[in-house]
Amino acid sequence: MAFSYPVKGTVITINSTAIGQIQSVGDIGLQVGKRDVTHLGSAAKEYAPSIGDPQAISVSVIAAATDNGLQAFLSKVNTPSTALDTFSVILPTTTKTFGFSGFPSKGIWKFGDVEGTVMADLEIQPSGALTFPTS
């Protein structure tokens, strides 16, 4: 069987501080743009890749006001900074890491019905290239 990574055990850090009680992590990666390079001699439309556009990453956590990582994240949502933060998404057991610079772009506390648990929806906007895990 080819090696595969389990989602369980994935850790996300902001400036080296782990965000606790994460329940799910959304997609990570870039969307490559395209540019039209069709010319008069083309038999059909022709395209070429442009640069990548890093996509926002959604994270759902069980909200705990005492969690240092969540505090660090939400403080940047309350007071955005022009300086980018350093994020890592560390795959479990392998220490393979996605690394990138970016900023917290959303921090929403979610309530619900009487049987619910207070959650927080976080969103990270990467800026620039991402370092993907290797090997």
């Binding site: 369980k8 850790v11 606790g20 994460i22 329940q23 956590v61 009487v114 648990t117």
Partner: protein
Amino acid sequence: MSLGADLRTYLMSKSSITAIVGTRCFKNKIPETVTTYPLIVYTQVSQVVPHTLTTVAGYSQTRMQIDCYASGKDSVKADSLAAAVYNVLAGFPAAGTAQPAMGSSTVTSVVFMGSRDFYEPPEDGSDVGLFRNSMDFWFRHDAAVPSYS
């Protein structure tokens, strides 16, 4: 992790209930040796423990069925016992309670899910069966994180 024992401890700490049942509060079934009513039987219907990406989340959601039995000679007791149980559980904890405890469990929310009445015919050929009021409650309570040791 099991809420049942702590639920029993809590119910048995309430004089409004012990005045009716004494210490007759049992898990899952009525013991064969018990012939005195009214009494309570509690049953764990389901338990869900949410997980995070790291481990369990530290809390459980447990649905408990609480059956209040009374002898067919005294049907009103089943209703009054059910009312007493409802009165100490539904909507628990009281607003503003910082660390709401039931026994050794921290119970942060109890929601009353509904109730049904039953009549159980006698098995001995007599006319005296059992009245049973069956209530379901949803509990949110703490759950220990496994140590894996």
